[in-house]
């Protein structure tokens, strides 16, 4: 038996629109995505998403507000707020012009690059033609925006790494990447908050505990913050690591 194919509706794609004009897409029956058209890191979009997040946080309508590189997700209880009301709320917030706020903190993250903490730094060295020292200098000179947290608690998705350092993920992910590992994937750079499987190219490790459920403030970094990496020696890494263990 062969059934006729479902008619594919014309795609609602916005073209030739500035990247900061988003569309509101339904995501199930209790969430919306505010979707921007960029497929890369765009500082204007990140600013816009961050400003939007702060504006939406003032309302009790939303159960979750999650920021991403090119989208913001809001979820709500449809029994309490009708989807139409939720869309109107979002549209109104989008219409109200807001100056980008710089509310985030700059978090200093010490990193011991290379060696057994950064096993993939040689691969980056080969693809970029840069020495290890040049990679370290390049990677740590930038102040990165925190665009998104997740996919595991504490995983920090940062803004674009310098072009020379762009490198594809491992074809086969490692079964275990230690907590604190600093990595590169495509144009992205980020930090593993917890030990987990992962395919990113690991160039270093921080002794800072990005996620620690026993700490009064379990999350060291929040979306909206910025991150500045400071290269440290292995001796300093071990010293800081011991301090972190002692404070647990």
């Amino acid at each position: 038996m062969s059934l006729p194919p479902l008619k594919s509706r014309p795609q609602k794609r916005l073209q030739a629109r500035p990247s900061t004009r988003p569309e509101i897409l339904p995501y199930g029956d209790g969430a919306f995505l505010v979707q921007f058209q960029t497929q890369h890191y765009d500082p204007n979009v990140t600013d816009r998403i961050e400003t939007l997040k702060v504006a939406l946080q003032k309302s009790n309508d939303w159960v979750e507000i999650v920021t991403g590189y090119n989208a913001l997700l809001v979820s709500f209880n449809p029994q309490n707020i009708s989807p139409d009301t939720a869309v109107k709320h979002l549209e109104n917030t989008l219409r109200t012009p807001k100056k980008p706020l710089k509310t985030g903190r700059v978090i200093d993250v010490p990193v011991c690059y290379g060696g057994h903490f950064g096993p993939d730094i040689d691969a980056i060295s080969q693809s970029s033609g840069l020495s290890t020292d040049a990679i370290i200098a390049l990677h740590s000179q930038e102040t990165y925006q925190v665009c998104m947290m997740g996919f595991i608690p504490g995983f920090t998705f940062l803004s674009e790494a310098p072009k020379a350092l762009h490198h594809p993920r491992h074809a086969t992910p490692r079964l275990s990447v230690p907590a604190g590992s600093v990595g590169l994937a495509g144009w992205q750079t980020g930090i593993y908050g917890l030990e987990s499987p992962g395919g990113w190219q690991i160039i270093g490790r921080t002794p800072s505990r990005i996620f620690d459920s026993t700490r009064a403030e379990p999350f060291l970094i929040k979306s909206g913050d910025s991150v500045k990496f400071t290269p440290v020696s292995e001796a300093d890494y071990l010293k800081l690591d011991n301090e972190a263990i002692a404070s647990c």
Partner: protein
């Protein structure tokens, strides 16, 4: 006090979860099958969201060190007390020294064991829900194992309650989930869009609280339009999303699923059906039925009115 003699495949302490932390990478989690969890608590006279034991697949053995009342709701695991069969959905007194044994789940995947007064566990961000990837909640953030002792909480509880006709959820080895098209549904080939709704799928062995990898039992792999990029920028993800990776084997994100993902989001299970995903285990057949707004909201209101006391149903404060 309860003593775990055998933890089974995976047994955890769960409650109603910790919503509101997905921006930090923490899924709300909690009981995978919210309905049977709530019913177990309701039947022993607890508040619906009291901490209870979730047992996946079976194999859990518990010794009671105190007289108490328990109720088991959800998957049928041929429970026995001291070797005598114990019925699901029937709150029953147990005595000090009694041993409860659960065999394997023959229908459904997860059973909930509620104890009058509730249970105690580690609180993190306002919830005791065990979330194993971050080692939070429950007992030391991990699954229950032989030798663990769980304290009974002293929350107030009412008399035991019997289920009126029609209130015991039917479990099936074939779960039909009602869905809405996800944000990237249109990026699938028209044939694959159709296959998702006419096809029969089966959860593979790669199925746990985080997600279920599903495979078409009588369908071809699900394909992405050749004009579309096979991977997208990582973006927020919800539980109940069916993602399609380039290999064509879809992944259904479950209660402890990742908060972000980089594969296209083809379908989203409606809120009223999310509880059913808690009964998906390896080998469970799954199919999807498409909904269009405002049907999901009508279904949700109907279900909440049936079960939630606020709308005329049974359980105080409960909503899907």
């Amino acid at each position: 006090m309860l003593e775990i003699l055998n933890g089974g495949t995976q047994s955890t302490l769960q409650d109603a979860g910790r919503p509101g932390h997905r921006h930090a990478g923490i899924p709300s989690g909690g009981a995978a099958d919210r309905l049977n969890f709530a019913l177990a608590n309701w039947s022993v006279g607890n508040a619906w969201d009291a901490v209870a034991i979730e047992c996946a697949m079976g194999g859990l053995h518990i010794k009671f060190h105190k007289d108490t009342i328990i109720s088991i709701c959800g998957a049928k695991m041929w429970a026995q007390i001291n070797g005598t069969s114990f019925q699901n959905f029937k709150p029953t007194s147990v005595s000090k020294g009694d041993i409860l044994t659960l065999s394997y789940a023959r229908n459904g995947c997860r059973a909930y064991i509620a104890v009058a007064g509730g249970l105690k566990g580690d609180n993190f961000l306002g919830s005791v829900a065990t979330y194993i990837p971050a080692k939070i909640g429950g007992l030391d953030g991990t699954a229950l194992k032989a030798g663990d002792h769980i304290s009974i909480a002293d929350n107030p509880y009412g008399p035991t309650r019997r289920f009126p006709n029609g209130y015991v959820p039917r479990l099936s080895q074939h779960i039909v989930l009602r869905v809405l098209a996800g944000p990237e549904f249109e990026q699938l080939t028209p044939e694959s869009q159709r296959q998702l709704f006419v096809g029969l799928f089966e959860a593979t062995a790669q199925t746990d609280r985080m997600g279920a990898r599903i495979k078409g039992a009588n369908t071809k792999d699900i394909r992405i339009l050749p004009t579309e990029p096979i991977s997208m920028v990582s973006s927020p993800l919800l539980s109940g999303t069916l993602q399609v990776p380039p290999d064509g084997l879809p992944i259904l994100s479950l209660i402890d699923g990742h908060c972000t993902g980089g594969y296209l989001r083809a379908l989203q299970v409606i809120r009223a059906d999310l509880w059913q995903m808690g009964q998906i285990g390896p080998g469970t057949r799954v199919s999807f039925r498409r909904c269009f707004a405002p049907e999901p909201l009508q279904i949700l209101k109907g279900r909440n009115a049936f079960y939630g006391a606020e709308y005329g149903g049974l359980i105080d404060g409960f909503a899907f």
